[in-house]
C-alpha cells in the first residue's frame, strides 16, 4: 500500500534525522511502529561490554506509566519533536527522552492536578482568571492527543505520526491558534501545556527521564547542579562547565 510505504519512509527519514544508529533499526522498533524508543535496548545489546549510565536510564525508562498504546505515545513523541526538533545544535525532544518525561508526569501529581484547586462550580471565566477547566492535565493530554490524530485524519487522511513534518506543523499551528475544538478545554490551552511540558522534559534533571545524558543542558550551556560559582563569578570570560546532575552528587 502506498500509504504504508510512505509511512515507513517517513519513519526511516525521521530515524535518520534523529541520528539513531542504523544497526538499531534492524532489530528495533521500526516494524513494531515505535520510533526509536526500543533503540537503546538494542544498543545495549549490541554494545560490546558494560552500559553507560545513560543507557541504563533509557533502559529503565522504556515502559509506560500513563500511556497504554504505542500510537498515542508516538503522536505525543512526534508533536514534541516538532516543538523541539533535532538540529545541528543537538538532539530534539525524542532523543532527549521528553515523551517518557511526559508519560511519567501525567501518571503522577502533575497529571492529576493534586496540588490545585479542582472544586466546582466550573465556569469559563475571563482569560485574566486563568485555568478554569474541570479537566486534569491527564484528561487534557489524552483528549489533545486524540484530537491531533483526528485532525490528521481529517486534513490529510492519515495518522498524525505518518505525516510529513510540515503537515504536523500545520496541525500544531491550528491548535496553537485555537482553531480546533476541544471539549472542556481549548486547543490553545492544550498546546501551551504541551509546549511547556516539552521544554520541561528537555531541561529538567535527568532523573525525571528527560534531558537524556544532560544533552539539553549541554546544548544550552547550563551546567546543571553545581555546588558553587564563588571562584569564577567575577571572571569576564564565559565559563564552559561540564554539567552535573543531582544523581551525580
Amino acid at each position: 500500500m502506498p500509504e504504508e510505504k510512505k509511512n515507513l519512509s517517513t519513519r526511516r527519514d525521521f530515524l535518520k534525522t534523529s541520528g539513531v544508529a542504523a544497526g538499531a533499526l534492524i532489530g528495533g522498533g521500526l516494524i513494531g511502529g515505535l520510533v526509536g524508543y526500543n533503540v537503546n535496548d538494542n544498543k545495549s545489546a549490541t554494545t560490546p561490554k558494560g552500559t553507560s549510565p545513560s543507557d541504563h536510564t533509557q533502559h529503565a525508562n522504556a515502559g509506560f506509566q500513563f500511556f497504554k498504546n504505542n500510537r498515542d505515545f508516538e503522536v505525543l513523541s512526534n508533536a514534541t519533536e516538532r516543538i523541539f526538533p533535532k538540529d545541528d545544535l543537538g538532539p530534539g525532544a525524542i532523543e532527549l527522552g521528553v515523551p517518557y518525561f511526559i508519560d511519567r508526569q501525567l501518571a503522577g501529581q502533575y497529571g492529576s492536578n493534586s496540588k490545585e484547586y479542582m472544586h466546582g462550580p466550573f465556569a469559563v471565566g475571563a482569560p485574566t482568571q486563568g485555568y478554569q477547566s474541570r479537566l486534569t492535565r491527564a484528561d487534557v493530554f489524552k483528549q489533545g492527543i486524540e484530537k491531533l490524530e483526528e485532525e490528521a485524519n481529517k486534513r490529510f487522511d492519515n495518522g498524525f505520526s505518518s505525516l510529513e513534518p510540515e503537515q504536523m506543523d500545520e496541525i500544531l499551528t491550528a491548535f496553537s491558534k485555537d482553531e480546533v475544538k476541544m471539549s472542556g478545554t481549548t486547543a490553545a490551552f492544550f498546546f501551551r501545556m504541551l509546549r511547556s511540558a516539552t521544554l520541561e522534559g528537555a531541561y529538567s534533571d535527568p532523573m525525571y527521564s528527560g534531558n537524556n545524558n544532560m544533552d539539553g543542558w549541554r546544548m544550552k550551556g547550563f551546567p546543571g547542579h553545581q555546588m558553587s560559582y564563588i571562584a569564577v563569578i567575577e571572571k569576564e570570560e564565559f565559563q564552559k562547565i561540564e554539567p552535573k546532575s543531582l544523581g551525580s552528587m
Binding site: R82, Q109, D169, E200, P223, S228, I230, K235
Partner: protein, 570 residues
C-alpha cells in the same frame, strides 16, 4: 467538639519572618510562645538536593497546596469571581520559614516618602495630583521612628550592602556585612547608569557576602553564588531565613513551642478582646481551641485578612460607601523593565537571588512629577539571580515560540540576554480590595478570600514611563536589541509577576482608616496583633520584606509592653 488547651502567653499563627521575629522577641522577654504552622517543619538539611528547577521552580514544591485553600479573583465588581486554580502570578508559601525560605533576599527600607506619602504629595503637588479614587494615606509612623527597627531586622539577618545611595533614608549604622561581589554583568549596569548621570549602588542582600553571627548568636554562612535562590531553600544556610535565625533563637529560650500541620480556622473574639484561636490538626482532623493572652496573626497577606473576616473581627470595607477598613487598600507591585540581547556570552547561569545593582533616581519622589500623570516610581535594578533553562528561553518578539527557530534562538540567547527590572510602587484604589467569596470554599468549609483587583491609570502611566528609562539604560549597556516590557492593561493572574501582595489589614493613626495601629495592634481587640505586608497602606518601590521585618520588630516591642500593662499602645 473542640478540645480546649491550656492558655499560653502568646500564640503566633504562621511561622515565616513575622511569626519568627515575634516569637523570638517575646520568648527572649520571658513570655511563653506557641507557634502554630499549617505546613511542615523544614531546615537546611532538607535543601541538600534542592538544585532541581523542575520540582522547586516549576512545580512549586515549597508553596501552598491550593487543593486545600486558594483565593478567588476578579478584575472588577461586575465580574463573577473564580478560583485561582493554579499558582502563577504570585507564589504563596507554606511550612516553617514561609516565604522567607524561598525568597531571593532583596532587603530594603521603604523611603521616608512612603511613610508620609499623602502629606508629602499634597504638600508638593497639591491635593488633586491623583483623583479621590486613590485612597492614599500616611502610615502613622515616620521613617525616623522606624529606623532602629530596620536596623534590628538587618542585624538579625546580617544584610550585606553599602550605604552609598543618596536617595534613601539616613542610616544610623552601616550594613552588618559588606556588599556582595560586583560581577561583570553588574558592572555593565554600573558604568551605563553612571554615564547617564544616575547613582548605582549594590543591592542590599540577605545572601551574605561573608560568614556572620547575629546578635542572638545565630550563624549565617557565606553565599556561594550557585544560582538557586528564588523558589528554593539554601543548602548552605547562606540566605537568611527564619529557620536558621529567629526560629532557633526562640527555641534556645525554652519558652517556645511549635506545632506543625496545625491550621487555624478562627480567632475567637469576646467583647473587645480575643481569647485564643481554633485550629485543626490536619493529620487527625481533630479540632482544638488554643487559649492565649495575646494572639498574633503572622501568616501571609491573604490569610491574615481572611482569618479576620471569617472571625468577624473589624468592619469589612465597602467600596460603595467607603466605610469599613478590613480588606481595603489591597495593592500589588508594578514591574516595568527591559530585555537586552547581546552578542557576547555571559555567565548568566551563575548568581544569587539578591546579587544586583540598583538606581533609586526614579523611585519615590526622587524625581519631579509636576509634569507627569502619576506619583511615585520604583527602584530600577539589574539582578544576576542565575538563569535556569526550563524557565529562561529568551527570544526576540518576532521569533516563533516553538519549532526549529525557537530552539535555535532560545539556546543562543540563554547566555546572551540580560534584563533590567523595576519594583514599581502600587497605589491603593477604591475598587481594589479583599473580601470573602460567597461561592467557593476551602477544605475546612470556610469561604475563600476574594480578590478584586485591576491595574489603574496611575499604574499604567508609571509602567510606561519607567519602562522607557530601563530601555535607555539597556541601550547604554550595549545590547544589540532592546525590548521594553509590553504596556500593562488588565491584571492577569496567569504568568508569574511577583509575590509582593500588600494591604487589606492596613496600619494607621486612626481606626477610621486603618485596621491596626502603629504597633499592629487591632483597633477592635487590644490583645490581637496582625503583622505582615498586609499592614502597608500602599506598596512602595522596593521589595517589601525589609519593611515587614522592621514593623514586626516594632510590633514585638508593643506585644511585650502590652503583656505587662495591657490597654491600647497608642
Amino acid at each position: 467538639m473542640a478540645t480546649t488547651l491550656p492558655k499560653v502567653d502568646v500564640v503566633v499563627v504562621g511561622l515565616g519572618w513575622t511569626g519568627g521575629i515575634i516569637a523570638a522577641e517575646c520568648a527572649k522577654a520571658g513570655l511563653k510562645v506557641l507557634g502554630l504552622e499549617r505546613g511542615e517543619a523544614r531546615n537546611t538539611e532538607d535543601y541538600l538536593k534542592v538544585h532541581d528547577e523542575y520540582r522547586y521552580a516549576v512545580r512549586y514544591e515549597l508553596m501552598q497546596n491550593l487543593s486545600k485553600e486558594t483565593i478567588t479573583i476578579r478584575n472588577h465588581r461586575k465580574m463573577p469571581a473564580l478560583p485561582m486554580r493554579q499558582l502563577s502570578s504570585f507564589l504563596l508559601g507554606e511550612g516553617l520559614g514561609g516565604s522567607g525560605t524561598h525568597w531571593n533576599g532583596h532587603s530594603w527600607r521603604f523611603l521616608p516618602y512612603d511613610f508620609q506619602i499623602k502629606t508629602m504629595t499634597d504638600e508638593k503637588y497639591g491635593p488633586n495630583k491623583l483623583s479621590k479614587d486613590y485612597l492614599l494615606q500616611d502610615w502613622g509612623v515616620t521613617y525616623d521612628e522606624l529606623e532602629p527597627y530596620f536596623y534590628k531586622y538587618e542585624q538579625t539577618l546580617g544584610i550585606s550592602g553599602e550605604d552609598t545611595n543618596p536617595f534613601w533614608g539616613k542610616r544610623a549604622q552601616p550594613f552588618p556585612t559588606p556588599p556582595m561581589k560586583k560581577t561583570p554583568i553588574l558592572k555593565k549596569f554600573e558604568s551605563a547608569t553612571k554615564k547617564m548621570g544616575y547613582n548605582p549602588f549594590m543591592l542590599p542582600s540577605a545572601n551574605l557576602s561573608e560568614p556572620y553571627t547575629n546578635p542572638d548568636g545565630a550563624a549565617i554562612n557565606s553565599c556561594q553564588y550557585c544560582g538557586f535562590c528564588e523558589r528554593f531553600g539554601c543548602e548552605y544556610g547562606a540566605k537568611s531565613s527564619p529557620e536558621i535565625t529567629v526560629i532557633p533563637t526562640a527555641e534556645k529560650t525554652n519558652n517556645f513551642e511549635m506545632r506543625f500541620r496545625s491550621n487555624v480556622v478562627e480567632v475567637i473574639k469576646n467583647g473587645n478582646k480575643v481569647s485564643g484561636v481554633k485550629y485543626l490538626d490536619t493529620l487527625s482532623g481533630e479540632e482544638f481551641i488554643q487559649e492565649a493572652e495575646v494572639v498574633v496573626l503572622s501568616s501571609y497577606v491573604m490569610n491574615n485578612a481572611k482569618l479576620l473576616m471569617v472571625s468577624n473581627i473589624g468592619e469589612q470595607y465597602n467600596p460603595d460607601t467607603g466605610r469599613g477598613t478590613l480588606g481595603k487598600n489591597y495593592c500589588y507591585q508594578i514591574l516595568p523593565g527591559a530585555t537586552g540581547y547581546f552578542d557576547e556570552q555571559m555567565n548568566t547561569f551563575m548568581g544569587a537571588g539578591a546579587l544586583g545593582m540598583t538606581i533609586d533616581d526614579f523611585n519615590g519622589d526622587n524625581f519631579d512629577h509636576s509634569d507627569l500623570n502619576f506619583i511615585h516610581g520604583g527602584s530600577i535594578s539589574i539582578t544576576q539571580t542565575g538563569s535556569r533553562p526550563i524557565e529562561t528561553n529568551p527570544i526576540p518578539r518576532d521569533t516563533p515560540t516553538w519549532g526549529a527557530e525557537f530552539k535555535k534562538n532560545s539556546i543562543h540567547n540563554f547566555t546572551r540576554t540580560l534584563g533590567i527590572g523595576t519594583q514599581g510602587a502600587s497605589m491603593p484604589h477604591k475598587e481594589n480590595f479583599l473580601s470573602l467569596d460567597s461561592t467557593y470554599k476551602d477544605a475546612y468549609g470556610l469561604p475563600l478570600l476574594q480578590m478584586t483587583y485591576n491595574f489603574t491609570e496611575q499604574d499604567r502611566a508609571l509602567h510606561k514611563y519607567i519602562t522607557e528609562v530601563t530601555q535607555n539604560i539597556m541601550k547604554e549597556m550595549g545590547a544589540k536589541t532592546v525590548e521594553g516590557k509590553n504596556p500593562i492593561t488588565d491584571y492577569d493572574i496567569v504568568g508569574y509577576q511577583t509575590t509582593h501582595n500588600t494591604g487589606g489589614t492596613i496600619m494607621g493613626a486612626s481606626p477610621d482608616n486603618s485596621v491596626v495601629n502603629t504597633y499592629l495592634q487591632h483597633w477592635d481587640a487590644e490583645n490581637l496583633f496582625v503583622v505582615g505586608a498586609g499592614n502597608f497602606p500602599h506598596n512602595g518601590g522596593y521589595n517589601p520584606t525589609g519593611t515587614v521585618g522592621a514593623l514586626a520588630y516594632k510590633s514585638a516591642e508593643g506585644i511585650i509592653k502590652y503583656s505587662k500593662s495591657g490597654g491600647s499602645l497608642v
